[in-house]
């Protein structure tokens, strides 16, 4: 392999992939959401554009692309423009650290299925996902309008609250895996032969609930609660800027689902990695396992949205401070104790 290919083409290709892969998932996700919710409500949902309506999100994007960008005269111009970019950028950037599978060997060259492997990859991803919340907050504030402001306020409190259980549960994984490197965490799950989700169900449940809240999804979609705040923090946005917020939300969901899969469900590992009798499952490429697991969690997102009413602000806060944080603290303590004793 020439140095040109190895040092230039492949990195560029990877960068392109890291942008394309989330966007592709976003398209699938938007379609999945509308279709699945419709089917659960006895409707059909979009099924005309492309096969079963799969191109509907593309058509929507094209429409949004040609729409006028409206900005309030009193809006803070700089923040108003920067915040959709911030949200989108941080969501996409986080995907650099998400490993998609085992490295592939092509001759002497090893193709890694991630852009950057960092010993603190987990922390970086959490940090980046927090940065995307700044976009939400800035956007809501810069709109200089009441509904977006209220959406942003709700968002601040929601993120402040739910970062804590996320952090605490991630720590338990780090304790067990003795690493914050995502690739390493998956490899530890392979060597220990059990997915951490089964080892630490409490961690998984707390992490999952908190991350649904962190992605502003139903039933925790308070910052953009349609029936209350019109469209929440992006009420004043239109056209492509709105599309950025919209897509970033889905990208964030994909990111969070990837994290859940990596931390608790063995990433690209097939089920029961330790059981010899099931080793034939290795025939299926790891990436496929990985996608199947992600899709399951994305489906769960949609399923929950179709089923439940929206939490109220105070009960949402009560849930996290009175239930999730104590639970995750006890859980952390228990895991640490077990880890220390063993």
């Amino acid at each position: 392999m020439t140095p040109f290919v190895a040092d230039f083409l492949i990195p560029v290709g990877k960068i392109a992939a890291v942008i394309l892969y989330p966007m592709l998932m976003v398209v699938v996700m938007i379609w999945l959401e509308r279709r699945v919710v419709a089917l659960m409500q006895g409707r059909l949902g979009p099924n005309r554009v492309g096969f079963q309506g799969i191109l509907q999100p593309v058509a929507d994007a094209v429409k949004l692309f040609f729409k006028e960008n409206i900005m309030q005269r009193q809006a803070d111009k700089f923040l108003f423009n920067i915040s959709p970019v911030l949200v989108m950028f941080s969501s996409l950037l986080a995907f650099c650290f998400v490993p998609l599978g085992e490295p592939i060997r092509i001759g002497s060259y090893t193709l890694t299925l991630w852009i950057a492997e960092s010993p603190v990859g987990l922390l970086i991803i959490l940090g980046l996902s927090s940065i995307s919340m700044f976009g939400v907050i800035f956007g809501g504030w810069a709109s200089n309008s009441k509904y977006p402001l209220m959406g942003a306020l709700r968002s601040v409190i929601q993120v402040l609250s739910y970062e804590i259980p996320v952090g605490l549960t991630v720590l338990t994984v780090a304790f067990i895996a003795r690493s914050m490197d995502l690739v390493e965490i998956v490899r530890r799950q392979e060597s220990s032969g059990v997915w951490y989700g089964f080892l630490m169900p409490v961690s998984f449940v707390v992490f999952w609930i908190s991350s649904v809240a962190e992605t502003n999804r139903a039933p925790f979609d308070l910052p953009e609660a349609e029936s209350e705040l019109v469209a929440g923090y992006h009420t004043e946005y239109s056209g492509m800027k709105f599309a950025y917020f919209y897509m970033a939300e889905y990208a964030h969901m994909v990111l969070v689902s990837s994290l859940v899969v990596i931390l608790f469900f063995g990433g690209w590992l097939p089920p029961f990695p330790g059981v010899k009798a099931l080793s034939f499952l290795h025939v299926v490429p790891g990436f496929v396992w990985y996608l199947v697991k992600i899709m399951f969690f994305l489906y769960l997102y949609v399923w929950i949205r179709a089923t439940f009413p929206r939490y109220r602000f105070d009960s949402l806060i009560r849930l996290v401070w009175k239930w999730l944080i104590p639970l995750s603290l006890v859980n952390l303590l228990a895991v640490a104790l077990v880890r220390y004793l063993l």
Partner: protein
């Protein structure tokens, strides 16, 4: 302190104001301090129009009041005119009216529950409710040719007879509704989020409810047993056996629950009416140009949203001198501020949904 209070304009363009209602809210962060409803965006001057139309021509216009339950409006107006003109309606027509009116109540409650649930964020319930309501609307279409603005009752009787096929169809539809209701109840009744959003929210006590003139399901949710169908039976309601469900706390959950129960009761009444459908004429003899002797009358019925009253004053011609409508939503909306004060902003939409208002009826 000056900065703590925000004036928030909710509507007339807002996803959950059920039409063109505008609420001027004063909020302290999320806590609601004041609510001032601003109405009139849909005011069409119905009462003025009615004075210039003949008694018969008014009936289709009453469809446009509470358009979710158009038939109940027809019934309320027609009963008032019949009382004034001294028209005796045949028993079969009265029974058919009850079948239609109860089906309408059912449809209205299903839609109302759906809107309410959708405001609180459970959007599937809206669709499930609409799916069940669709069957009822199909019956209306089959019966009188329209689904929403039905014009399904005439002065003196009903326009069409209920034939065997239609009776069978009605039975089929109402047999299917409990299943849809069960789904809604599984989704909401015990759900912790739903209960968190509704129990103890928007409470109005029995005394206040009466004082504010609240009627219908919203009043009964506060535990006041007041149902015109039972207390001043009109149109043969006294021949039917049904219960009036009562709430205890007067909160959003009770108002939701009362509507669910009333759907069950309506199904019961429809079954009884179909079983005991008497033979006979479907309409009294009414002159083509109806001239009503001078006089005045105020007649109330139990519409799905509450007590619907029509005051009709005649001057001896074929056009009424004055028709005044007492619309339940108009009166019920007055108590919104009482229910919302001190609650959170998110609750306003839930409370508004639980009042089940229709702006066509409020603005007339």
């Amino acid at each position: 302190m000056a900065l703590r209070e925000i004036d928030l304009n909710m509507g007339p363009q807002h996803p959950s104001t059920h039409g063109v209602l505008r609420l001027k809210l004063a909020v302290d962060n999320e806590v609601v301090l004041r609510v001032v409803p601003v109405i009139g965006y849909l005011h069409r001057g119905m009462e003025k129009l009615w004075e210039n139309l003949t008694y018969t021509q008014v009936v289709p216009l009453t469809d446009r009041l509470d358009y979710i339950a158009a038939l109940s409006n027809n019934l309320g107006y027609v009963l008032a005119v019949e009382k004034l003109a001294g028209i005796e309606v045949p028993r079969r027509a009265r029974y058919i009216r009850i079948v239609l009116a109860e089906l309408q109540r059912l449809a209205s409650h299903l839609a109302g529950l759906g809107f309410m649930a959708n405001d609180i964020g459970a959007m599937s319930v809206l669709l499930y409710g609409f799916e069940a309501r669709e069957g009822v609307l199909d019956i209306f279409e089959e019966y009188c040719g329209a689904r929403l603005t039905v014009h399904g009752i005439r002065i003196g009787g009903v326009p069409h007879d209920l034939d065997g096929a239609l009776v069978a169809r009605i039975r089929m539809v109402i047999d299917g509704i409990p299943k849809r209701l069960a789904e809604i109840r599984t989704l909401l009744d015990e759900n912790r989020i739903w209960k968190g959003r509704t129990v103890g929210v928007g409470v109005i006590g029995a005394g206040d409810a009466v004082d504010y003139g609240l009627t219908g399901p919203s009043l009964r949710a506060s535990g006041v047993p007041w149902d015109i169908r039972k207390d001043i039976p009109y149109s043969s309601y006294d021949e039917f056996d049904f219960d009036v469900p009562l709430g205890r706390n007067g909160d959003v959950y009770d108002r939701y629950f009362i509507r669910l129960e009333e759907i069950t009761q309506s199904i019961r009444i429809v079954r009884q009416a179909l079983d005991g459908l008497p033979a006979g004429e479907i309409s009294a003899k009414v002159p083509r140009v109806l001239k009503v002797p001078p006089g005045e009358v105020f007649h109330t019925i139990e519409a799905p949203k509450g007590v619907l009253g029509f005051y009709v004053k005649s001057n001896g011609t074929d056009k009424p001198e004055r028709v005044k409508m007492k619309s339940p939503s108009f009166i019920n909306l007055q108590s919104l501020e009482h229910m919302c004060k001190g609650n959170l902003f998110s609750d306003v939409v839930g409370i508004l949904g639980s009042l089940d208002i229709v702006l066509g009826e409020i603005d007339k």
